[in-house]
């Protein structure tokens, strides 16, 4: 315990206190410290009850919960069946329009201009030339009618089409042995998926919903649609794709939602 002598003050004696008082009463001082700590812990507990503060927000608790969540990422990676197809449905079951969800309300969506928009490529990709919407929309399309499941609990059946992500990554010479595919979005949203999910047959870069070009709230001109992840992993308004081996937290994972988010 060091006592710093700062500038003179009317509240501080000019001659320093004899330090031996601390060593002589060390035991007592420590006892007070311990009691204070206990009192603090008790009142913190009481505060938690009264104000609705959350024990989950305590650093060590949150750290432990995040560690379990990371462990769960590994478990999900292990049980992921790369060739197992999600159930598909008939066009008559498709919800029109799809259900909107983002980290802000639908009124705050900022539409993108398809004529000037380009898709940038970064990281472990051979051909990094940007793609215009026109070129992307000319690629062979795949249609999937799959269930969208939100982490909140709701679901709907959607009919999505666009280039298969695995085919696209292959076309641009991406390193398919890399670990992650990142999506950087126009609304400052970020998401990333593991490579096995990116290469899953039902993972597409969606450009259409129910046969028509997707509208602004649902990610025009380009969004991700994968059958094996929760809704929030499906990045909308994508402006860049990066293939990398470096793990970085994404918009939702940095806020405590599970990163892998497989279904």
């Amino acid at each position: 315990m060091a006592i710093h002598i700062r500038t003179p003050s009317i509240f501080r004696p000019t001659t320093p206190i004899d330090q031996s008082v601390l060593t002589e009463n060390r035991k007592l001082v420590e006892e007070i410290g311990r009691r204070g700590f206990l009192r603090g812990a008790v009142s913190l507990g009481a505060l938690t009850m009264l104000t609705g503060c959350d024990v989950s927000e305590i650093d060590s608790v949150q750290k432990a919960l995040r560690a379990v969540s990371a462990w769960n990422d590994g478990v999900q990676q292990t049980i992921f069946r790369k060739d197992h197809l999600a159930p598909t449905f008939s066009p008559s079951q498709v919800a029109r329009p799809p259900r909107f969800n983002a980290y802000y309300p639908i009124g705050d969506v900022k539409p993108l201009d398809g004529a000037t928009w380009t898709l940038e490529l970064a990281g472990r990709i051979g051909d990094k030339r940007p793609w215009t919407a026109q070129r992307l929309y000319e690629l062979p399309e795949q249609e999937i009618i799959i269930r969208h499941i939100c982490v909140e609990g709701w679901d709907y059946i959607g009919q999505w089409s666009g280039p298969n992500l695995g085919d696209f990554l292959q076309r641009v010479g991406a390193d398919l042995t890399a670990k992650y595919v990142y999506f950087i979005c126009a609304d400052d949203f970020t998401e990333s998926i593991d490579m096995p999910t990116a290469l899953h047959p039902q993972t597409i870069l969606a450009t259409k919903y129910a046969g028509a070009i997707i509208t602004d709230p649902f990610g025009y001109p380009l969004r991700l649609r994968t059958a094996t992840k929760l809704g929030y992993k499906n990045a909308k308004w994508i402006k860049a794709i990066e293939v990398t081996n470096d793990f970085r937290d994404t918009y939702w994972s940095s806020r405590g939602f599970n990163w892998f988010a497989g279904i």
């Binding site: 049980i79 159930p87 982490v151 497989g262």
Partner: protein, 228 residues
């Protein structure tokens, strides 16, 4: 001293609730608390019944992600502890001795006695027919809540399992009703444990010594009581 040590070694197996059962019971209590509290938080994000939203003061997790974090942490404790309990109950013959046979006639007789407040509970070591049905029932519900939970967590990876429920929302319903059944069980279970405090005490200390035919060992309780 040697006698005492030997006696304490065999002691737990001869109690109404051997030590492993007590440990697993209280671990389960904590796990259930976490699972239900966080499950209510998750439910609130997309309610199933318009009349039901759990008050913020009784859910675990202020934000959705905290509820999810707790739920997917608690599930490991609940499942691993539950598996250990089932294995223990089957392997030691505890389930067979305590829960079977169940007589339907006896169930009705016991309900009648309970309604007339004539239910005898001086013998903790013997479960009446209603207790047997409830304990067996809550175990089956416990298994079903894990199966429906697995289907909810991974409806695509375990699509064969999820398909058995018909639709995704059906899985949520089953999971919800299992939770409701467990909550109802807990209300009855805790009320009765408080009404018959020696049953609560037994789950802490082990309870009275019993002479189990199945183990073929003599009760060790007298020895311990004299030496203790």
């Amino acid at each position: 001293m040697a006698q005492l040590a030997a006696a304490s070694r065999v002691y737990p197996a001869h109690r109404l609730h051997p030590l492993p059962v007590r440990i697993m019971h209280w671990i389960n209590a904590v796990a259930i608390f976490i699972m239900i509290g966080s499950g209510w938080k998750i439910y609130n994000d997309d309610i199933i019944f318009s009349f039901l939203r759990f008050p913020d003061s009784i859910v675990i997790g202020k934000w959705a992600q905290y509820g999810l974090e707790w739920h997917f942490f608690g599930m490991w404790i609940f499942v691993l502890n539950g598996l250990a309990y089932l294995c223990y109950g089957i392997a030691t013959g505890r389930f067979r001795r305590k829960l079977f046979p169940i007589s339907i006639r006896e169930v009705f007789v016991t309900i009648g006695e309970a309604l007339r407040f004539r239910l005898r509970h001086d013998d903790l070591t013997h479960y009446n027919a209603v207790q047997k049905v409830l304990y067996l029932g809550v175990m089956i519900v416990g298994i079903l809540i894990v199966i429906s939970g697995l289907a909810l967590w991974k409806p695509i990876q375990f699509s064969e399992l999820a398909n058995l429920f018909g639709s995704f929302q059906n899985i949520r319903l089953v999971h919800f009703f299992c939770m409701s059944a467990i909550v109802a069980f807990i209300v009855v279970h805790v009320t009765l444990a408080l009404l018959v405090p020696q049953s609560l005490l037994a789950m802490l200390t082990g309870g009275p010594a019993i002479d189990d035919d199945a183990t073929g060992r003599a009760p060790a309780v007298s020895k311990v009581e004299t030496t203790g």
